[in-house]
């Protein structure tokens, strides 16, 4: 067991004894700092003949005590010093000579806070500009391969359809079923006051055909698939696989981005359709069990009162949402730079952005369709 090192000042001599090792660093450093603060210890002569074990941490402390120039001079002139210890002291002295003090961290001033807001805004602007550019790039890549069936990546496309579409079916169906039931309950509670519980059927069908089917499916895909796209492309980017593709004369847009975007655009309409059906099914069950509206009656009202255009309005939004979600997922993945943390940041950002965009676009579309009377 090493004994704790000691630093004493006798008359004009600094005396270093015992073991100066990492294990005692926290006890030794205060001694060194006290010695430095008291009476210019740098002018004293040094006696280190009583030193026990010494490692690089201890040597660093000695360098801090004496300053690297003095340590170098002392180590070189001391003939009694064991050669390996001299080497260590010299190496550490060399290493510490260039070290400057810590950069001062300033408390944030008002000016800096404003600057941060400004930086955030211009960052956001750049992000949106980049997204618009990336959408354009995706579209041109798509148009470029449309007339060349040999360059369609069918295998990759089908694989992505399976993972984004088929594998997401159960969760989409379950989720919309539950929301459908909840909407029906809400409708039943509110409409009961007017004795108009029969309109629960209209409420559920309108809601799911126009909005909920597509929005719920799109949000689910944003959480489930956009994040997966970002993580996949992000680790490929970090691993230089994207560079390798480009260096072999292959276009990452065509190889990586298009199959994913197209897979999403094909999957989401199907998922939306399933979402609509199972949402309405959930509503229908609630109507049957708690409002005594029979299934036949429900279906008759559905057929008689709900025009086809509501279904089309809902389904028509699906490819647009899918495109936006997939493009954001891919773009965030390609923005990843090197580190594991960066992959995490961009995955978060891709999910937040794609859900935000889905809801924003849906709101704009709702306004537009209302004005158009569709």
């Amino acid at each position: 067991m090493p004994t704790i090192g000691n630093l004493t000042i006798e008359r004009d001599t600094l005396i270093l004894t015992e073991d100066w090792v990492l294990a005692h660093f926290s006890q030794l450093r205060p001694q060194v700092q006290t010695a430095l603060a008291n009476a210019g210890a740098t002018d004293h002569s040094v006696d280190w003949s009583g030193l026990g074990r010494l490692d690089s941490a201890g040597a660093a402390l000695i360098a801090e005590l004496l300053g690297s120039d003095r340590l170098t001079a002392l180590a070189e002139s001391d003939t009694d010093l064991a050669p390996e210890r001299r080497e260590l002291l010299l190496a550490v002295a060399r290493a510490t000579s260039g070290l400057e003090v810590d950069p001062v961290s300033q408390a944030p001033t008002l000016r800096e806070s404003l600057a941060r807001v400004g930086r955030g805004m211009s960052e956001f602007y750049r992000g949106q500009k980049l997204l618009a550019g990336f959408i354009g790039l995706t579209l041109t890549a798509l148009l470029a391969i449309v007339p060349r069936p040999r360059r369609w990546r069918l295998t990759s496309l089908v694989a992505h359809i399976q993972s984004t579409g088929l594998n997401a079916l159960p969760i989409v169906a379950l989720l919309t079923f539950l929301v459908g039931a909840v909407v029906a309950f809400l409708g039943a509670t509110v409409l009961e006051n007017f004795g108009a519980t029969i309109y629960t059927v209209h409420l559920v069908s309108y809601a799911f055909l126009r909005e909920f089917g597509v929005v719920l499916a799109a949000i689910l895909l944003a959480g489930r698939t956009a994040s997966a796209y970002t993580a996949q492309l992000g680790s490929m980017k970090a691993n230089q696989e994207v560079d390798a593709l480009r260096a072999s004369g292959l276009d990452p847009m065509e190889m990586l981005v298009l199959p994913r975007v197209l897979a999403m655009m094909i999957s989401l309409p199907f998922l939306t359709f399933v979402g609509m059906l199972s949402g309405i099914l959930g509503g229908m069950l609630v109507c049957f069990f708690s409002l005594d509206i029979s299934v036949t009656q429900f279906l008759t009202i559905l057929e008689r009162d709900i025009p086809l255009n509501h279904f089309l309005v809902g389904l028509g939004k699906a490819p647009v949402f899918a495109f936006v979600v997939a493009v954001i997922g891919c773009l965030e993945g390609l923005k990843v730079s090197g580190s594991a943390q960066s992959v995490g940041e961009h995955t978060t950002s891709s999910v937040v952005q794609s859900i935000f965009m889905v809801i924003l676009l849906d709101a704009i579309a709702a306004l537009f369709f209302m004005e158009m009377g569709w």
Partner: protein, 261 residues
């Protein structure tokens, strides 16, 4: 002298593929042991087995007289603190800057305050030959050579007793590689640790290693001083040391003399 690391009858299999078959190897205190072998002879697997990252398929490995696999988690961590490991690709923590990378084991294992630990970390980084301002850089901002140096600084953080280096000079320019070799010897002489050095760099082998172990056909063919190993009649060893590159490195070493390094 009792060996620090004692590998006996080590067997490592991946499915049907046997990498190590009854392999024996000793590492003695204070020596630099170079481990060479063709690609795929299991040099890195051997390293991973010794430091306990891989459970061997058979055989025993004793480090400081203890078998890592038999120890409790706490004792094992205590033994592992006496290791310093430099991985092939650096394996720096990408979410921390360099001084935080080096300070992490110091803070976790020695209970130093953050400022003390970072002060020491900057010294270690400088010791490994990095410029002072690099301490605040993140690994993704560094060149390959700088990553190697930072990784060495992290391996040295706790002043280990055994240093495991997996191809430390691969990817360095010749000047940096020579400086690395010199640094390694200086630190070894000063701190007295042992080094387990996996390398393909013949110059490193000639200038730094006290003993060389040659891995082939799942075993250590020979582990001895370089002169002895060179004279081994095994055809692979003859090719390795007396091929054009081996001869060039040997000639260079003879011209410069060991003392100059």
């Amino acid at each position: 002298m009792a060996p620090l690391i004692e590998v006996r009858g080590l067997v490592n299999r991946f499915g049907d593929h046997t990498v190590h078959d009854d392999l024996d190897l000793d590492v003695y205190p204070g020596e630099i042991l170079g481990v060479v072998g063709g690609s795929g002879t299991g040099k890195s697997v051997l390293l991973r087995s010794i430091i306990g990252l891989r459970q061997a398929s058979g055989g025993t490995i004793r480090v400081f007289g203890q078998d890592l696999q038999e120890l409790s988690a706490q004792d094992r961590s205590r033994v592992e603190q006496r290791f310093g490991v430099l991985f092939q690709t650096g394996a720096l923590f990408t979410s921390l800057n360099l001084q935080e990378n080096v300070a992490l084991p110091l803070i976790e294992h020695t209970g130093l305050s953050r400022s003390d630990a970072e002060h020491l970390a900057r010294m270690k980084l400088a010791l490994a030959g990095l410029p002072a301002q690099a301490a605040w850089n993140y690994p993704s901002e560094l060149s390959g050579g700088m990553v190697k140096r930072a990784s060495l600084a992290r391996a040295l953080a706790l002043d280990p007793e055994v240093l495991f280096l997996d191809e430390p000079t691969a990817g360095l320019d010749p000047i940096s590689a020579a400086a690395f070799d010199r640094l390694l010897r200086t630190l070894r002489d000063a701190l007295g640790f042992s080094v387990f050095l996996v390398t393909h760099d013949l110059d490193t082998l000639y200038t730094t290693c006290d003993r060389v172990a040659v891995l082939a056909r799942g075993k250590v063919l020979v582990a001895d001083s370089l002169e002895q190993v060179e004279d081994n009649p095994d055809p692979w060893i003859q090719d390795y040391f007396h091929g054009p590159r081996g001869r060039a490195a040997a000639d260079a070493h003879q011209r410069l003399g060991r003392e100059d390094y």
